[in-house]
């Protein structure tokens, strides 16, 4: 029995279930491929190679080329200041620099447009994107920096490298995973973002698909744009996989690693303080201030509970359903990945990974079309919307669960059985219980994502359903900025604790 326990062959039912889920995950990709195929070569070419697509291409590429490096510099730079220098108040700054993640990009855009109404074009788009997304780099970079083995840096120093060269030649290479991973996340967010860019009339593929959707529902031109967008996402995935490299960064050998030391800032203390203050001011204080300003300007009139309460409750309901569903679906996959690693589980994970890189608009279009034509009973149901959330956000649950399950070795499970528990009870009492905190963390992250999801929700929500995000969007599109403010505030309030949780978790998981 012990010998069989090491068998790489996963339990059939779990494997089947995971396979079905993985196939289900490929619906959006299949949709794009199918639509391109049925559109025909000539029409496809005509719709893809036209000047408008050229404009969108220029805009999207510029955005990526400007924003990704900028977020990397700001994310890594601020993480280094906070974690590895004697910056005063670094404990407070550490949290404040992660906090902008609680402000959805479209709320950020709304605040900036309130501050400077003439914002438009690629530079404004880049500004808002950088301020919204730099925490995606900052958080993993900070987490990695706190865990670096100082011995390597000390050796480099002993061999005659100055602090700057130590940073570039020793510290930065060790941040490679945080940088490529964070950079990929930022890139995918840039491709998928709709609201933030639509508000400042900056056109990307996603905003153009939404425009086509408003004019034609799932028309051919929109579908072709979606194909191009998906192509971009796949390119980003490949780029990230390639630049990840194969170097090992883990410490080998016995003994505990020393705590990283902090570089004395000395006369750079003041410039350092000014830099982080400025960053927090524009990425956190400014958006919060303008939301509050509209709340005050709007007075009591904007608190229409008949509208606000259903939107809040439905958002909470969808968020909980999405979080629960994603966790449950992720469980068999995580289980296989941890207990039965191999090519099979790798390919399952890959399919999830690819799908979750698809923008919400593509998943929405795919589900609407497939549901109308193939599964009319699911059309416009909450179930379908929740399924879309699962596809979009499952990696958030998966990554956490995998880490949790890894800390629940199967030997413990076996020990419980040996002590007389039935296999089922042993599984529930040991494995499930030990992985529960990780599952909760993952679920919280999915919840956070669902609360601020806009495009897929607009397309798939059942009749009569409104969420905080869709209501905020409808009101701010009608330039009713005061009316939109309560929805913005509620989204921030719901997101804040989740962001804090994410921040805490990243510190623990950095070694993984």
């Amino acid at each position: 029995m012990a010998g069989k326990g090491n068998s790489p062959r996963p339990p059939l039912v779990v494997a089947l279930l995971a396979t079905v889920l993985a196939l289900f995950a490929l619906i959006p990709l299949g949709y794009v491929v199918y639509m391109t195929a049925v559109t025909g070569w000539e029409t496809s070419i005509e719709l893809v190679f036209r000047p408008k697509v050229g404009e969108l291409l220029t805009n999207t590429l510029l955005l990526i080329v400007i924003v990704v490096p900028a977020t990397l510099v700001m994310g890594v730079g601020s993480a280094w200041l906070v974690e590895r220098t004697t910056l005063r108040g670094h404990k407070v700054w550490a949290v404040l620099l992660a906090a902008p993640l609680a402000i959805p990009a479209f709320v950020n855009s709304y605040s900036w447009v309130s501050a400077i109404p003439s914002l438009e074009g690629v530079w404004s788009g880049s500004l808002i994107a950088v301020l919204s997304y730099f925490p995606l780099v900052y958080i993993p970079a900070a987490a990695t920096l706190t865990r670096l083995d100082p011995a390597i840096e000390q050796s480099a120093g002993a061999l005659g490298l100055g602090p700057w060269r130590v940073f570039f030649r020793v510290v930065l290479p060790q941040l490679r995973l945080a940088i490529t991973g964070g950079g990929l996340l930022v890139g995918l967010h840039l491709l998928a973002e709709y609201g933030a860019f639509a508000m400042i009339r900056f056109e990307t593929f996603t905003t153009a698909i939404m425009q086509q959707y408003a004019s034609t529902f799932n028309g051919t031109a929109g579908n072709m744009l979606a194909s191009v967008l998906v192509f971009f996402c796949l390119i980003l995935l490949v780029l990230e996989a390639r630049s990840r490299g194969t170097a090992r960064y883990a410490r080998i050998g016995s003994g505990a690693q020393a705590k990283p030391y902090r570089l004395a800032l000395g006369r750079y203390q003041v410039p350092g303080q000014m830099a982080v203050t400025a960053l927090v001011a524009v990425s956190l204080a400014l958006p919060l201030w303008f939301v509050l300003r509209w709340i005050i300007a709007g007075g009591a009139e904007i608190w229409d509970l008949d509208e606000l309460l259903p939107a809040l409750l439905q958002t909470l309901g969808l968020g909980l359903a999405g979080a629960l569903a994603a966790t449950v679906v992720a469980f068999p996959m995580a289980y296989l990945a941890v207990r039965h690693p191999g090519w099979f589980t790798k390919s399952l994970e890959l399919s999830n990974y690819v799908t979750s890189s698809m923008p919400g608009i593509v998943v929405g279009l795919a589900f609407v079309t497939v549901a109308i034509n193939v599964m009319p009973d699911l059309y416009q149901t909450t179930g379908l919307l929740v399924a879309a959330y699962v596809l979009l956000f499952i990696p958030r649950a998966l990554v956490n669960l995998r880490a949790g399950l890894a800390q629940a070795p199967k030997e413990l499970d076996e020990a419980a059985q040996a002590l007389g528990k039935s296999p089922f009870m042993a599984f529930v009492r040991v494995t499930l219980r030990l992985s529960a905190p990780a599952a909760a963390g993952g679920a919280a992250l999915v919840f956070l994502a669902v609360v601020t999801e806009l495009t897929a929700t607009l397309l798939l929500s059942p009749n009569g359903t409104t969420t905080l995000a869709t209501s905020f969007w409808n009101k701010s599109s009608e330039i009713d900025y005061a009316g939109a403010a309560p929805y913005a505030l509620l989204m921030i309030l719901l997101s804040a604790p989740m962001t804090y949780l994410l921040f805490q978790q990243s510190k623990k998981a950095a070694g993984q």
Binding site: L17, S118, A214, S215, T216, G317, V386
Partner: protein, 354 residues
């Protein structure tokens, strides 16, 4: 090992069941699309209806609330845009959950009509709405109307510098000075009128010049805001944005003046907002009652006194007195059922506006 596998199978099944339950549980929290109520042609209506609403949410909400108060029929709204919803209804076909479709402009109505999905108007509706506000086919009716307008910034433009016709905005001297929202059904309706009045060649020419000259915004409200802020001198939108903003804070319209092209110009186009009952409706009696209600005295009075400032079209209820009367606008005569939204989207996509 066998035993353990079975236990895991149990977990997996449990997981699937939980997922299913979660989906069903939250699914039942929202009302089913249509209750399949069994109301006959009797005068009393009951049950519920689903309205696909591309009109202002606030306006249709007001109609729905009053209608529910009078009849007890529950109304569920799905909010969307004209052409998005017309295409959606066509794809849904017989299975469409919609009982009633209400738009801001005519082209989307025509599209659904051409797909053969509308039921005939009832005599009550025909009696309430004059012929000029409904298509000759009587498959749908006007429920409100809106006029094209050139809003301009009073500090940047004087009356003598205003364009005489929509066609003038294609001239090179207007480059970079005006804006519009090309993705909106409103502007697309104006283009469809241009197409109907001037023909395809002229329209393509105008759209191509427009692409060179104009600045694009997402939504007419955004256009007006930009004009007000002086980013552009003028914009082609509908008349009611100005009045709506004035009734609220007035902050986004304090520098705005409205210029009506008149003279039967394409830019003087008055667009009819439509309403129709779907053939596939499972509660036709209630759906028809709703359409009769909004075109009736009470429904049109809500339009007259509400904050949407659209023109009334039915039951002899006059429009809000702040508006320039419809009769003075010298609008061109356009048969609403001839407006071709599909062609317009194609031409605009080709011109690079979409």
């Amino acid at each position: 090992m066998k035993i353990r596998n079975n236990a895991l199978a149990g977990i997996a099944l449990l997981a699937t069941a939980t997922l299913g339950l979660a989906a069903c549980g939250s699914g039942s929290a929202t009302p089913a699309a249509t209750a399949g109520a069994t109301s006959s042609a009797a005068a009393a209506v009951s049950g519920e209806i689903t309205v696909y609403n591309a009109q202002h949410e606030s306006m249709t909400k007001a109609w729905a609330e009053e209608f529910t108060k009078e009849t007890g029929v529950k109304v569920t709204l799905r909010q969307g845009k004209d052409s998005e919803m017309s295409n959606q209804i066509i794809q849904e076909g017989d299975k469409s959950p919609a009982d009633v479709f209400i738009t801001e402009n005519s082209p989307a109505m025509t599209q659904v009509e051409n797909a053969g999905l509308f039921a005939d108007l009832t005599d009550e509706v025909k009696k309430q709405v004059p012929e000029e506000y409904r298509p000759s086919t009587n498959k749908w009716t006007g429920v409100a109307a809106r006029s094209t307008v050139f809003v301009y910034n009073k500090e940047k433009l004087t009356e003598d510098k205003l364009p005489k016709s929509l066609a003038d905005l294609a001239n090179p001297d207007w480059k970079g000075r005006w804006g519009a929202s090309p993705s909106g059904a409103d502007f697309q309706a104006i283009v469809s009128a241009y197409l109907e009045l001037k023909g395809e060649a002229e329209t393509v020419k105008w759209l191509t010049a427009m692409k060179e000259n104009f600045k694009g915004y997402q939504g007419n409200g955004a256009v007006m805001k930009a004009v007000n802020a002086g980013e552009i001198e003028g914009g082609v939108i509908y008349h009611y944005y100005y009045f709506g903003d004035q009734a609220k804070t007035g902050e986004n319209s304090k520098n705005i003046a409205s210029h009506y092209f008149k003279n039967q110009d394409p830019g003087a186009f008055v667009s009819i907002s439509g309403g129709g009952v779907l053939n596939s409706s499972k509660n036709k009696a209630a759906a028809e009652a709703f359409l009769a209600f909004i075109t009736g005295k009470k429904g049109q009075e809500l339009l007259q006194t509400g904050k949407d400032f659209e023109y009334t079209v039915g039951s002899d209820v006059p429009s809000n007195e702040k508006l320039t009367p419809l009769a003075d606008l010298e609008a061109p005569t356009v048969d609403a059922s001839k407006l071709n939204s599909k062609k317009v989207t194609e031409l605009m996509t080709k011109a690079g506006l979409l």
